[in-house]
């Protein structure tokens, strides 16, 4: 519409700066820059809004009762926590029941002495080692300890080396 090289308005002001930027271009640029910043800011706060700060999910640290509840050489499934409490002659360990493939809940098959996943057929030993199937990793071991009053306590946020056993 206006030629930036032409003389400016009635007051005689130039329509371009010395660097050759016209007033129109300058206003366009700062407008779009401001809109861009506003859009980016909105995206960031919206992302923050959609990310919940408080989760009403089952606690990850739980008590599993007295050690005497678990006979030697048994695998006990705790359905609330989705954890196996395994007791061997050496002691206790806690194995995740969530398949490392796609998150289905596995089942302990006492007759085969295997942990099996119903979704895609992964199989594990009682200590979580993988036997077969699409699962990429063994089942993790969770931190297990005793409370001051002598109950088992498992923390699902802390995974430990599978060699670590809670001796009794």
């Amino acid at each position: 519409m206006t030629d930036s090289s032409k003389p400016g308005n009635a007051a005689g002001l130039p329509k371009t700066t010395e660097a050759g930027v016209s007033r129109r271009d300058f206003l366009n640029e700062i407008t779009f820059a401001a809109l861009g910043i506003a859009a980016g800011g909105s995206a960031i706060v919206t992302y923050g809004y959609l990310e919940p700060n408080v989760l009403f999910e089952p606690p990850t640290k739980f008590r599993a009762g007295a050690p005497d509840l678990y006979p030697v050489n048994t695998v006990t499934y705790l359905p609330e926590q989705q954890v196996y409490i395994v007791r061997t002659r050496e002691g206790f360990y806690a194995v995740s029941a969530v398949c490392t493939h796609l998150g289905c809940i596995t089942q302990w098959k006492p007759e085969a002495e295997q942990i099996a996943c119903p979704c895609h057929g992964s199989k594990f030993r009682a200590d979580g080692r993988k036997i077969e199937g699409p699962a990429p990793r063994p089942l993790p071991h969770f931190s297990i300890g005793l409370t001051p009053d002598g109950e088992l306590q498992v923390d699902k946020l802390e995974t430990i080396n599978p060699n670590q056993v809670l001796r009794t």
């Binding site: 999910e57 493939h101 289905c104």
Partner: protein, 250 residues
């Protein structure tokens, strides 16, 4: 009888109300017929004229229209289902059961929605195959092909988000597995899964999020893209027409 009906119609068209809605006269000539299409919000993105060839009925001809009609049907049945459904645990499962066994004609509506959804995925895929093997992705239709691919993805996401809503075992494990697949995506996977579920497990937040995506966000996206899709069919020169034995025209 016919004469009095014609008379009544003529009278209706001369009323002020009619003239305020339809500002042109009767569509009696080609020009006024075209003007009628151009001047109507709902028709203006359809072609004012179609070639006779593109109307030839074939086995694969109506796939796009079928997809659209299924979408319309899903919108109507979906809105009706929303009157009885609470997206909360464990109420969602009970509402689904109520729709099947308690609500009058509820089982009919629910099954209509469910089967139409499955058919729509099939119809959209069939439409896509048809367009692909017809060479409908070639210039000048490339952009509309991309719009179509987006619509395929929207259809799949609609199908996936709707799958959680009955809140039964099938739904729960399907979404558990599906969102774990998402978390396998490099770098972003875990964040996307967390945002999608609104947490770390498939729970109350996940159900509500999938509900909002299924009932509001994705249908709006679909409507916008469908409008562009139809508009571009016309702007790109109508439906792709191929001679029965010969190279593609246009």
């Amino acid at each position: 009888m016919a004469a009095s009906f014609q008379q009544a119609l003529t009278h209706l068209r001369s009323t002020r109300v009619w003239k305020s809605i339809f500002r042109r006269g009767p569509a009696l000539t080609n020009r006024t017929r075209s003007v009628a299409v151009f001047g109507n919000l709902f028709l203006h993105f359809l072609p004012a004229k179609v070639r006779e060839k593109s109307l030839r009925v074939r086995a694969t001809y109506y796939l796009g229209s079928i997809s659209f009609l299924l979408f319309a049907m899903l919108t109507i049945t979906g809105i009706l289902l929303m009157f009885y459904y609470h997206p909360a645990t464990p109420q969602a499962y009970r509402d689904m059961k109520d729709l099947r066994f308690v609500v009058s004609n509820g089982v009919f509506l629910r099954n209509l929605h469910r089967l139409a959804a499955q058919l729509m995925v099939l119809a959209v895929f069939a439409h896509m195959f048809h367009v692909f093997y017809r060479g409908g992705y070639k210039p000048p239709h490339e952009f509309n092909w991309v719009i179509g691919v987006v619509l395929l993805l929207v259809t799949l996401f609609l199908s996936y988000t709707g799958y959680l809503l009955p809140w039964d075992q099938l739904a729960f494990w399907a979404i558990t597995v599906g969102t774990n697949i998402i978390s396998a995506m490099p770098v972003l996977g875990k964040y996307v899964r967390f945002q999608l579920l609104g947490g770390t497990i498939v729970g109350e937040n996940a159900l509500l999020r999938f509900y909002v995506l299924h009932c509001v966000v994705l249908p709006l996206v679909a409507i916008v893209f469908v409008a562009v899709h139809f508009w571009r069919v016309q702007k790109d020169g109508g439906l792709t027409v191929r001679e029965p034995d010969g190279p593609q025209k246009d």
